[in-house]
C-alpha cells in the first residue's frame, strides 16, 4: 500500500511538472526525428524545467498534427502542399516555416559496381525504366535492380520531383520500408541501385551526380550539400503556428546557433550555411 501511495505521489508531482507550462511537443518527419531528439536532449540539459516530447510518424502526420493543434512544432522534410495550406487557412492556423537543416539524397551503388558517376538524365532513365541494363550507362551487361522507398515517404516524393521530373517510377522498382532497408538491399546486391539520406549509408558507395554528361560530377558530402553544389538536396523544415515567441522562439534560435548546428553535423545531418542560419534567426 505504501508503495502505491508513493507511486501516486510521484505521478502527481510529475504531471504537475509536465503541465507547468514548459512543455514543447515536436512531431513529424522520420528523416528529422533523430535530429529533433538530439536537440531536445541537449536543450533540456541546459534548460532545467523544460520538457520536450519528440515523436516521428512522417511529414504528413506531423503537418496533420500541426493543423489539428496537437503539436507545437512540426518537423517536415517537404514543404506543405497547397491543399494543406488551404486547410490551415480554414482552420485559422498560420504556418510559419523555418529551414533548420539540409539533407542530401545520395544515390547508393554496390561497392563492386564499376560505375562512379551518373547524370541526372541517366538517373531519370534508370528509375523510370527507360534504361534497363547497366551497359547502357557504361557498366556490366546485367539488368539494373531498382530499389526505392514506399510511396508515403517524403524521400520518395522528393526524388520523384527532383530527378524524375514528376514521371512515375518503373513498376519493377522494389519499394522498401525505410532507408536502412534500401541500404541493406543495395549492399547485398551487386547490380542494385538505391537512394536515401546521407547519414544512413554503410557498406555501399555513393555515385557522383552531374547535371549533364559534360559537367563535373559532385559527390554528396556535408560540404557539397551545404554550399549547394550537390544537385539532389533539400531543406528540412520546422513549421510553427504563427511566428514563434517565448519558449518556442528561444529553442529555435538555439537550434540555429553554432552549437545547435554542430550537433546536427555530429549525427550526420548537413548544417545550414552560417549566413542562412543567422538569416533564419528570429529577432
Amino acid at each position: 500500500m505504501k508503495k502505491v501511495i508513493l507511486l501516486l505521489a510521484v505521478f502527481v508531482m510529475m504531471t504537475g511538472y509536465i503541465f507547468s507550462g514548459q512543455t514543447i511537443t515536436i512531431k513529424g518527419s522520420d528523416t528529422l526525428v533523430r535530429l529533433g531528439q538530439r536537440w531536445a536532449e541537449e536543450y533540456m540539459k541546459q534548460n532545467q524545467g523544460t520538457v520536450i516530447q519528440v515523436s516521428g510518424g512522417g511529414s504528413g502526420t506531423g503537418i496533420a498534427a500541426l493543423l489539428n493543434g496537437t503539436t507545437d512544432i512540426c518537423e517536415a522534410s517537404r514543404d506543405m502542399k497547397e491543399k494543406e495550406y488551404k486547410l490551415a487557412e480554414s482552420k485559422g492556423i498560420k504556418p510559419y516555416r523555418v529551414s533548420v537543416a539540409l539533407d542530401g539524397i545520395a544515390v547508393f551503388l554496390h561497392e563492386n559496381n564499376p560505375i562512379q558517376e551518373l547524370s541526372l538524365s541517366q538517373l531519370k532513365g534508370i528509375y523510370t525504366g527507360a534504361i534497363v541494363n547497366w551497359k547502357e550507362v557504361g557498366g556490366p551487361d546485367h539488368i539494373i535492380i531498382l530499389y526505392g522507398r514506399e510511396n508515403n515517404s517524403g524521400t520518395y516524393a522528393f526524388f520523384k520531383k527532383r530527378v524524375l521530373n514528376k514521371e512515375d517510377y518503373a513498376d519493377r522498382t522494389q519499394t522498401l520500408p525505410g532507408t536502412a532497408a534500401v541500404v541493406n538491399a543495395v549492399a547485398n546486391d551487386q547490380y542494385g541501385i538505391g537512394y536515401g539520406g546521407l547519414a544512413w549509408a554503410k557498406g555501399v558507395k555513393f555515385a557522383g551526380v552531374k547535371e549533364s554528361d559534360n559537367d563535373k560530377a559532385v559527390m554528396p558530402t556535408v560540404e557539397t550539400v551545404s554550399d549547394g553544389t550537390y544537385l539532389i538536396s533539400r531543406d528540412l523544415y520546422w513549421f510553427f503556428n504563427c511566428k514563434p515567441t517565448g519558449k518556442l522562439k528561444k529553442m529555435l534560435n538555439w537550434c540555429l546557433s553554432d552549437e545547435g548546428q554542430k550537433i546536427s553535423e555530429s549525427i550526420g545531418y548537413v548544417p545550414l550555411s552560417k549566413e542562412q542560419a543567422s538569416a533564419n534567426l528570429i529577432k
Binding site: 510518424g57 512522417g58 504528413g60 502526420t61 491543399k83 539488368i143 535492380i145 514506399e150 510511396n151 508515403n152 520518395y156 516524393a157 520523384k160 514528376k166 514521371e167 512515375d168 517510377y169 513498376d171 519493377r172 522498382t173 522494389q174 519499394t175 522498401l176 520500408p177 532497408a181 541493406n184 538491399a185 547485398n188 546486391d189 542494385g192
Partner: protein, 343 residues
C-alpha cells in the same frame, strides 16, 4: 454420504475432518430452481458470444462504407472507378497501356491485377512449402514418434507461431534472401519465393497443430482393428488414420491459406513490393495486405487513394471469408462421408 467417506479415505483425512466436510457439503446443497442470478449469467454469456459476431459485422460495414465512394462519388470517380481498376491504363496519351499500381503519380492508376497476382503467388509458394512440412510433421509426431519425442517436437513447432511476424520478415530480408539468391541465382533478391518461404514458416504451425490434433483424435479402435487384420504401422497410418483424419487436415490447410493471404509484415519486408505481373516466381511481388499497410498511414482522409485502400481491405475480407466458408463446407461434406463409411 458415501462420497464424502470415500473422499476422506482417498485423502486419508481424519474422521473429524470428514464430519466437517459433510456439514460443508450440506450447506452447498444445490437448489433445484434456477435463480435470478443464473438467468442474468446466462444472458451475459449469450451476449458475449454474439459480441464477436457483432464486431465482425461492424468491421465489415465500416470497411465497406469507406470504400463505397468509389461507386458514386464524382470527384473520386474522375480518378478511379471499378472499370479503371480492372483494365489497362496508360500514364499519358501515346504511352503503352499497362496494369500498374501508381497511386502517387500525376495520373494515379490503381490496377488490382498485379496485386492480386502477387498475393496469389506468395500464398501458393507458402502453401507448397508449409503443407508437406506441416502435414508430414504431424503424421510423424502423431503416428511414429515416441511419446518423449512427441513432447519435444510439438511444443517446438508450435513455438514457431509465437515468433512475431516482423522478426520472420526481418530474417527473410537479411538472411534468407541472400541465401536463396546465392543458391539459385535469382535476378531479384527479394522475390515471391523468398516471401513465400518466410510466409510458410508462419503457416506451418497452423497446419501442423490442426492436422496433429485431427490425427491424434482418430479412435484407437480403428487402428486396433487394422492392426488385428495384419496391417503394419505404415499401412495403418497411410491407409487408415490419414484418410480418417483428412477433414481435420483439410481444415488446417484452409486456415493456413487464409493466414498466408492476410499476413502483412512478412510480405511487406521480404517480397520487394514491386507491383508487376509476371509468371516468373523469381520476380518481386506486391500483395494486397502489404499495400494497405504501407500506404494507409499517410493517405489523405477521404481521397480516392483512401477509398481504394479500403476497397482492397473489403476484397481481402471477402476472400478470406469465402475461403473459410468453402473450407467449412468441404469439411462438413467429408466428415459426413467419413462417418458414413465408418458405421
Amino acid at each position: 454420504m458415501f462420497i464424502v467417506e470415500a473422499l476422506g479415505k482417498a485423502l486419508s483425512l481424519p474422521s473429524v475432518s470428514q464430519n466437517w466436510l459433510l456439514t460443508k457439503m450440506k450447506k452447498l446443497k444445490f437448489k433445484s430452481k434456477s435463480t435470478i442470478g443464473e438467468y442474468i449469467g446466462k444472458k451475459i454469456i449469450t451476449i458475449n458470444s454474439f459480441a464477436a459476431l457483432f464486431a465482425i459485422l461492424l468491421i465489415f460495414v465500416f470497411i465497406f462504407k469507406e470504400a463505397l465512394p468509389i461507386f458514386y462519388d464524382e470527384f473520386i470517380q474522375e480518378e478511379v472507378s471499378v472499370e479503371k481498376m480492372i483494365f489497362k491504363q496508360s500514364f499519358a496519351e501515346g504511352r503503352d497501356a499497362k496494369f500498374s499500381w501508381q497511386p502517387n503519380s500525376d495520373n494515379p492508376r490503381y490496377s488490382l491485377l498485379p496485386l492480386f497476382v502477387g498475393t496469389l503467388k506468395a500464398a501458393l509458394i507458402a502453401m507448397l512449402f508449409a503443407v508437406p512440412l506441416g502435414v508430414g510433421g504431424a503424421i510423424y509426431s502423431s503416428q511414429f514418434a515416441s511419446k518423449r519425442m512427441r513432447e519435444i517436437i510439438k511444443p517446438v513447432i508450435e513455438l514457431l507461431s509465437g515468433i512475431p511476424s516482423v522478426v520472420l520478415g526481418f530474417f527473410a530480408l537479411i538472411v534468407l534472401a541472400t541465401f536463396l539468391q546465392n543458391s539459385f541465382g535469382f535476378t531479384y533478391r527479394l522475390n515471391s519465393i523468398n516471401a513465400g518461404i518466410a510466409l510458410g514458416l508462419a503457416v506451418i504451425p497452423i497446419v501442423f497443430t490442426i492436422s496433429e490434433d485431427a490425427l491424434i483424435s482418430v479412435p484407437n479402435s480403428l487402428k486396433d482393428a487394422a492392426l488385428a487384420l495384419g496391417a503394419n504401422r505404415w499401412q495403418v497410418s497411410f491407409t487408415m488414420t490419414l484418410p480418417a483424419a483428412f477433414p481435420g487436415i483439410a481444415a488446417g490447410i484452409v486456415l493456413g491459406f487464409g493466414r498466408a493471404i492476410g499476413e502483412t509484415m512478412i510480405v511487406l519486408m521480404a517480397s520487394g513490393n514491386a507491383a508487376i505481373i509476371s509468371e516468373n516466381f523469381g520476380d518481386s511481388i506486391r500483395t494486397f495486405s502489404a499495400t494497405i499497410a504501407a500506404e494507409l498511414a499517410e493517405v489523405v482522409f477521404g481521397s480516392a487513394h483512401y477509398s481504394v485502400l479500403f476497397f482492397l481491405g473489403t476484397l481481402l475480407f471477402v476472400f478470406t471469408f469465402l475461403i473459410n466458408i468453402g473450407g467449412d463446407i468441404i469439411l462438413n461434406k467429408l466428415k459426413g462421408k467419413m462417418q458414413g463409411e465408418q458405421s
